[in-house]
C-alpha cells in the first residue's frame, strides 16, 4: 500500500520534473531564436505616450512613436522588434549589460552617454520648456525670473543638469522627481513654482492634467538618441543608416505626425543631421572633463546628501521611539478601547510597504494637507518605524518580572513611578539591541524617500552614477558614507550594553 503510493508520488514527480526541464529548454530555444531574428529594444512603458505606453486595448502590447521607430529599425535590419520593459533610469546600464540590443524611449543625447555607450545619431529634436501656473505666466518666463523658487524636473535628465547649474549660481531651488507626472501635479497644487521638462512631456501633461501654461520660449534644445552597448558599433552604424534613410524618405515625419509631435523644428533638424557626415554626431559633444575631476566635484554633494540622510534618520528614529513608547504603553496599560485601534495601527503599518505609505502621505493627502517633502519623509519613516519600535517595547515591558512591579507598588510607588523608575529603565535595556538594529535599518530605508523628491545619499549617488555612467566609484563612496554613519552607532550601543552588563553581573 505504502509502496504503491510511493511509486505514484515518484512518477508524478518525474512527470513534473520532465515538464519543468522541457519548459526550460523551450525558453532557451526561444531566447536563442530571439537573438537571431529579433531586435530586442528596451524602453520604459511607464514613461507613457507618445514614447511608449501599454496599449489600452491589450496591456501586454505597447504602442508609441518610439515603438514605431523601433519597428522601422527592425524592419531595416530584417528582424522582428521585441519590446523589453526597463526602468527609464536603468536603460543605460541594462543595454550595457546586454539585456536588450538597443535602448530608446526619450533617451537624451548627453556627453557622458556618448562616452559610455554606442550612441546613434539623434532622431528627434525637443526643447526644454518651462511650465508655470496660469497666474504666473507673466512673472516667470526664464530661469532668471525663478530665482529662489522651487522648480521641479525628472532626475538624471538634461533639464535636471540645467537646473542644478542654475542652483549652483544662486538661482532656482531644484526639486528632483523619479517620474514626470508628479512634478506637474505638485505645480498645480502649489508645491512647485515651475517645472522644466521636454516639450513633449509638458504638452502631454497639459492635455492630461492641465492647470498650467507652457512658456513659449525654450530654455534649451536637446535630442533623443538610441543607445547600444559600447562594443556594438557595427549594429549602431547600421541603425544610423536606417535612421538617415527614414529621415530622407519621410517615414519618421509620418510617424511623428501620427503622434502629434511633428513641429517646425524637425525638418531643419533632419536637414542638419543628413548634411553631417556619417561619422560625426549631430550635436558636438562638450569638452569632457576628466573623470577624477568629476568625482571630486561630486564629493561635496554626496556629503550634503549624507547630512540629509543622517538628520532625517535621527529625527525619524526620535519620532519612532516617542510614538513607539506611547503605542506600547497604550497596548500594555490601556483598556480595550485604546488597545484595539493601536493594535490595528501596528498591523496595518507593518503589513503595508513603507513606499506606499510615503506616497499616500505626500501625494495622497496633498488635497487635504500639503506636507513639505522633508516633513512627509520624516513622518512616513518615523510613523512606520514606530510600529516596529512599539512591538520591541511591548515585548521588553512584558519581560520585566511582575514581582518587581508588585514590590514597587507595595513600597508606595505610583503606577507612573513604577513605569518610570522600575519597568521603563529595565525594558529600555532589553530593547537597546533590537533598537540599534532598527536604527541601522532605518538609515538605509531612508533612501526610499527619494520617491517624494528628497535627495538623500542614495539618490545623490544614483544621480552621480548616471552622470559618469558607472556605479563603481559612486557606489563605493556611498557605501563608505553609510558605514561611517552606522558603525559608530553600533559601537555606542555595544559599549552601553557592556557597561550595563558589567554593572549587573
Amino acid at each position: 500500500m505504502n509502496d504503491e503510493q510511493n511509486r505514484v508520488d515518484c512518477s508524478s514527480f518525474i512527470l513534473h520534473r520532465s515538464s519543468f526541464v522541457n519548459g526550460i529548454l523551450l525558453l532557451i530555444a526561444l531566447y536563442a531564436n530571439a537573438n537571431d531574428n529579433t531586435l530586442r529594444w528596451g524602453g520604459d512603458a511607464e514613461g507613457g505616450a507618445p514614447y511608449v505606453e501599454a496599449d489600452s486595448n491589450d496591456p501586454a502590447m505597447v504602442h508609441g512613436y518610439d515603438m514605431e521607430v523601433a519597428e522601422e529599425l527592425a524592419k531595416g535590419l530584417g528582424r522582428k522588434a521585441q519590446f523589453v520593459q526597463v526602468a527609464f533610469t536603468s536603460i543605460d546600464q541594462s543595454v550595457a549589460r546586454g539585456d536588450f540590443d538597443i535602448g530608446m524611449s526619450g533617451v537624451e543625447d548627453t556627453p557622458p552617454r556618448r562616452t559610455a555607450l554606442a550612441a546613434t545619431i539623434p532622431y528627434f529634436e525637443f526643447h526644454e520648456v518651462l511650465s508655470v501656473r496660469p497666474g504666473d505666466g507673466d512673472r516667470f518666463s526664464t530661469l532668471h525670473d525663478l530665482r529662489g523658487r522651487r522648480v521641479g524636473t525628472l532626475g538624471g535628465t538634461i533639464a535636471y543638469d540645467i537646473l542644478l547649474q542654475s542652483q549652483k549660481t544662486g538661482g532656482v531651488d531644484v526639486i528632483s522627481y523619479d517620474d514626470d507626472v508628479h512634478p506637474y501635479e505638485d505645480l498645480k497644487n502649489g508645491r512647485l513654482d515651475a517645472v522644466l521638462l521636454d516639450n513633449i512631456i509638458a504638452e502631454r501633461s497639459l492635455r492630461r492634467t492641465g492647470g498650467f501654461v507652457i512658456q513659449p520660449q525654450p530654455i534649451a534644445t536637446g535630442h533623443y538618441i538610441a543607445v547600444l552597448a559600447r562594443e556594438n558599433t557595427a549594429l549602431r552604424d547600421r541603425v544610423d543608416e536606417i535612421l538617415r534613410a527614414r529621415m530622407r524618405d519621410g517615414t519618421l515625419e509620418r510617424i511623428y505626425r501620427k503622434w502629434n509631435i511633428w513641429d517646425a523644428y524637425q525638418q531643419p533638424f533632419f536637414d542638419r543631421v543628413l548634411a553631417q557626415g556619417a561619422k560625426t554626431a549631430a550635436v558636438a559633444p562638450a569638452v569632457q572633463p576628466r573623470t577624477s575631476q568629476v568625482i571630486v566635484s561630486y564629493i561635496p554633494a554626496l556629503l550634503r546628501a549624507s547630512v540629509i540622510t543622517i538628520v532625517l534618520s535621527c529625527a525619524a528614529m526620535a519620532l519612532a521611539i516617542a510614538a513607539g513608547v506611547l503605542i506600547a504603553s497604550g497596548r500594555v496599560y490601556g483598556g480595550r478601547i485604546l488597545r484595539v485601534p493601536l493594535t490595528m495601527y501596528v498591523e496595518v503599518v507593518r503589513g503595508t510597504p513603507v513606499l506606499l505609505q510615503l506616497f499616500v502621505l505626500y501625494y495622497g493627502l496633498s488635497a487635504v494637507i500639503r506636507l513639505p517633502a522633508f516633513i512627509a519623509a520624516l513622518l512616513g519613516l518615523g510613523l512606520n518605524y514606530a510600529a516596529y519600535e512599539s512591538e520591541i517595547y511591548r515585548g521588553a515591558l512584558e519581560a520585566v518580572p511582575r514581582g518587581q512591579l508588585e514590590a514597587a507598588r507595595t513600597l508606595g510607588l505610583t503606577e507612573r513611578q513604577v513605569f518610570s523608575l522600575v519597568r521603563g529603565p529595565q525594558a529600555f535595556r532589553l530593547a537597546l539591541a533590537p533598537m540599534t538594529n532598527d536604527f541601522v535599518a532605518l538609515l538605509k530605508d531612508s533612501s526610499l524617500v527619494s520617491v517624494i523628491t528628497v535627495v538623500e545619499l542614495t539618490k545623490q549617488t544614483s544621480i552621480f552614477a548616471a552622470n559618469i555612467g558607472s556605479w563603481v566609484i559612486p557606489g563605493a563612496l556611498c557605501a563608505a558614507l553609510y558605514l561611517a554613519m552606522s558603525l559608530p552607532l553600533g559601537r555606542l550601543a555595544r559599549s552601553l550594553e557592556t557597561r550595563w552588563r558589567a554593572a549587573s553581573e
Binding site: V422, P425, S504
Partner: protein
C-alpha cells in the same frame, strides 16, 4: 489591646475555586506571627490581600485603622495610607535588577517619602549594617547570594519604616544556620513594637521564634495559639498533617 491587623470573613475565589472561605484573625502590636498551613492553603493569598495586590470578594481587612474594601474598591487615600503601614518581603525577593543594593533600599524613601538623598542613604546604610550586609551596598541583585538578597529585600521594605511587615516563606531557601540568623533578626525587628507576619512551612522556626502560630486549612483558620503548645499538641487534623509532612524538609 491594640490590633495592628484585623481580618473578618475574608473570602476570595479564583474562578470556580474558593481560596479563602471566611478567614478571621487579629494580630496585636509587637507580635511575630507564624502563618502555617499546607501548600495551597491560602497563606500567600492572605498576605497579598493585606497589601492590596489581590482583590478579595468579601470581608473586612483593617490595617491599623485603614480599611480595605472588597473588589479593589479601596479609595486612593486609603491605599496611600496602607502603603505607609505595611511592608512586604516576597519569597523571590524581587529586587530591582537594574539598581544597586543601595539604590534598591533608597528608592522608596527618595521617591515616595521625598527624603533627601544623604538622609536616605544614611538610613539605608544603617539598615544594611544592622542586617549584616553593609559590605554589599554597591553590588547589583544578580551578584548576591539568596541569603544576602533576602536581607536586602528586608532592608528595602524596612526603609519606609512600616509598623507591619509581611514576609512570604522567608525560611524556604535557607539552610538551618541561616534560618537561625533570620529568626534572631526578626525577633530584633519586633523589639521596638513592630509587628511581623511570616508564612512558613518550618515548625521548628515557628516554635523557636514566633509569639503565636495560626494554622490555615482549606481557606479557613483552624487552630491558633502559642506555637509550643499548638505544634507540640496539635488539635486539628490539618495541623497534624502539617507536622507529618516534616520529612519532606
Amino acid at each position: 489591646m491594640s490590633a495592628v491587623l484585623r481580618i473578618e470573613g475574608l473570602r476570595l475565589r479564583r474562578g470556580p475555586r474558593e481560596i479563602l472561605r471566611g478567614v478571621a484573625l487579629a494580630v496585636q502590636r509587637g507580635e511575630l506571627v507564624a502563618l502555617m498551613g499546607l501548600s495551597g492553603g491560602g497563606k500567600t493569598t492572605i498576605l497579598r490581600s493585606i497589601v492590596a495586590l489581590e482583590p478579595f470578594d468579601d470581608g473586612v481587612i483593617d490595617v491599623d485603622g485603614v480599611v480595605l474594601r472588597p473588589r479593589g474598591g479601596t479609595p486612593k487615600s486609603a491605599m496611600r495610607a496602607l502603603r505607609r503601614h505595611v511592608g512586604m518581603v516576597f519569597q523571590l525577593h524581587y529586587l530591582f535588577d537594574h539598581l544597586s543594593v543601595l539604590d534598591n533600599v533608597t528608592l522608596a524613601p527618595l521617591h515616595v517619602a521625598h527624603v533627601t538623598r544623604p538622609d536616605a542613604e544614611r538610613r539605608a546604610d544603617a539598615l544594611l549594617e544592622s542586617l549584616g550586609v553593609a559590605h554589599r551596598r554597591r553590588a547589583f541583585p544578580r551578584q548576591l547570594s539568596g541569603g544576602e538578597a533576602q536581607r536586602i529585600a528586608i532592608a528595602r521594605a524596612m526603609a519606609m519604616d512600616p509598623p507591619l511587615l509581611l514576609m512570604d516563606e522567608p525560611t524556604a531557601s535557607l539552610d538551618p544556620a541561616r534560618r537561625f540568623e533570620l529568626g534572631e533578626t526578626l525577633v530584633k525587628l519586633t523589639a521596638d513594637g513592630r509587628t511581623l507576619i511570616v508564612t512558613t512551612h518550618d515548625d521548628d522556626f515557628a516554635r523557636d521564634f514566633a509569639t503565636r502560630v495560626i494554622i490555615l486549612a482549606d481557606g479557613e483558620v483552624v487552630e491558633e495559639g502559642d506555637p509550643r503548645s499548638v505544634l507540640t499538641n496539635p488539635q486539628h487534623p490539618a495541623t497534624r498533617a502539617l507536622l507529618n509532612e516534616k520529612p519532606a524538609n
